[in-house]
Amino acid sequence: MINLAKRDIEHTLSKFIVTAMGVGMLLGIVLIMIGVYRGLIFEAEILLNDINADLWIVQENTMGPFAESSRVYEDMKDIIYVMDGIDKSGAITFQNIQLPHKDKPVRVVAVGYDIYGSINPVNPQRIISGRNMKNDRYEIVVTDKTGFKVDDKIKLGRNSYTVVGVTHNTTSNSGDPLVYLSLKDAQELQFLYSNKEIQNNEARGVKNSESHMVNAIIATVKNGFDINEVAQDIKKWQHKSVYTAQQQKEILTKNVVEKSAKQIGLFTVILVVVSTIIIALIIYTMTLEKIKEISIMKLMGLPNSLIVSMIVKETLLLGIFAFIFGNIFSHLTYDKFPKRIVLEIPDAFMLFGVIIVASILASFIGVKKVISADPAAAIGG
């Protein structure tokens, strides 16, 4: 039996391809939107995975530094360290800073940690040039996205820092590049006021005693100890909020990334609906262009099923070709976006399923036109 859909597409191949490319670009944007969401999750987890701590001890009744402000004393790390079940502990700070750069300041998240401590948040596998910090003053490790290179000098606050290492693929949950400082330097940047400010505070009777604050204490648990029980002990005796690594991930994904995810999800749904409407309109127009031929086929006695299958097949082929072009488009462009785009095969398969369903829905309008086409319209001019 003649495949009418195949013949029709072959007859107007260039038009069909251009149309599929147009719809494909739209689907490519859908894939990129999903990729943006995946990128958000991926970036949110980079630092958590690199730190690889079992417990996050933060200011009581707060959700920790990724969700809200949290301050604890640095020496809490020693108190935690001596508790039952704790293997290692360390203090850590996080702060947004602007690195002065020749073109424009670069917004980064600075991670401060004790470089002589037992927990190091810098994943050595991510260092692409230079080294990790060896001195606890005025050294900095930056991400390649910042544009700085080893031995570059960066003026921060009152001091000048030397870039000693450059990492790749290290970003914060907000997508900003990460830089690493020693805990002392980070505390100074975050908590130490200018001399005039200190003088003013002292005149008011306020001691500038906060420079030994950190944002969180991180700890690992010895083998054989239950992480949740250790967390409960810390909560009970130290009056702190304690989160396991899994809970911290949930805070990041549910509380921090959730709104962005919903926004992206809504955009994605709108784009899929728009794509469906566009496919439906294209198929409707293609059906209208053939309405005389369809009337003739009906007049000659061809069953509706044959004509309807032509329309449905054409719609499905348009959807499939658009999906292929969408994938090509998204893979060609994803690395040009400023934020990380993670394209995953299961997402592409999911979109493929959605497009097949959308194409079938989109074909209804063309099918309806076929069914209502009057065979008598073939007669006369």
Partner: protein, 238 residues
């Protein structure tokens, strides 16, 4: 085996109801034999196409009876659920323009209907090639209709109408788009087909130049069917 291809009895077709009732055909009764080429003439709006569409099982009559060959297809209602099946198996259509499906090549245009009727692709192609040879356009079998002239396309349309071995061909002004020479050529071809393929052909026409080639002339007058003869010397309907 009956020689009658089309038998119509007391056929009535009205449109609308009550004050808006329009009577188009009233008590039309006629027979057309196999091998006959009949012209259907009437002024515009007199009901030519309506009559053609009723015989072609497209428009449902208001009342009456229609036989196509041995099969009574209408007896105050369609006797078959699927009138499209009747069209597919018994009737060939030819239109003013060729209306070939532009995305199919010539042989596919001709084999589409037989294949839908269950004829194998090979057998349908063989029959199509025979028809194309019969109509002297076999060399165009794998061309697209856009590559053929108007006259060649109309011959392909005739081949398509013959592809399902119909008992009847209904032609709606098949020469309207052609010049005089090509019109006569097409109508001679229809005449030849009617005789050689033993097919009844009803042709709606306004073209008086081709009337001498018809066996009979059927005219709709005052909503009734009247058969006329042609004074071939004067080329006038009597």
């Amino acid at each position: 085996m009956s020689k009658i291809a089309i038998k119509v009895q007391n056929l009535v077709k009205n449109f609308g109801k009550g004050d808006n009732l329009v009577k188009v055909i009233e008590n039309a009764s006629f027979e057309i034999k196999k091998g006959e080429l009949v012209a259907l003439i009437a002024p515009s709006g007199a009901g030519k196409t309506t009559l053609l569409m009723m015989i072609g099982c497209v428009y449902e009559p208001t009342s009456g009876e229609i036989w196509l060959g041995e099969e009574k297809v209408y007896d105050n209602k369609w006797t078959a659920k699927d009138t499209r099946r009747i069209r597919r198996e018994k009737i060939g259509f030819i239109f003013q323009a060729h209306y070939l499906i532009p995305f199919l090549n010539i042989i596919e245009n001709i084999t589409l209907l037989p294949q839908t009727n269950g004829v194998s692709e090979k057998a349908a192609k063989q029959k199509a090639m025979e028809l194309l040879e019969y109509l002297e356009i076999a060399d165009k079998a794998y061309s697209m209709s856009s590559q053929l002239s108007g006259g060649q396309n109309q011959r392909v349309a005739i081949a398509r109408a013959l592809a399902n071995n119909p008992e009847i061909i209904l032609a709606d002004e098949p020469t309207a788009a052609l010049d005089a020479q090509r019109s006569i050529s097409v109508i001679k071809m229809l005449k030849k087909i009617a005789i050689e393929q033993n097919v009844a052909i009803i042709t709606v026409t306004h073209d008086e130049r081709i009337l001498p080639y018809f066996d009979r002339i059927m005219k709709i007058e005052n909503r009734s069917i009247v058969f006329h003869k042609l004074d071939k010397e004067q080329n006038e309907i009597i």
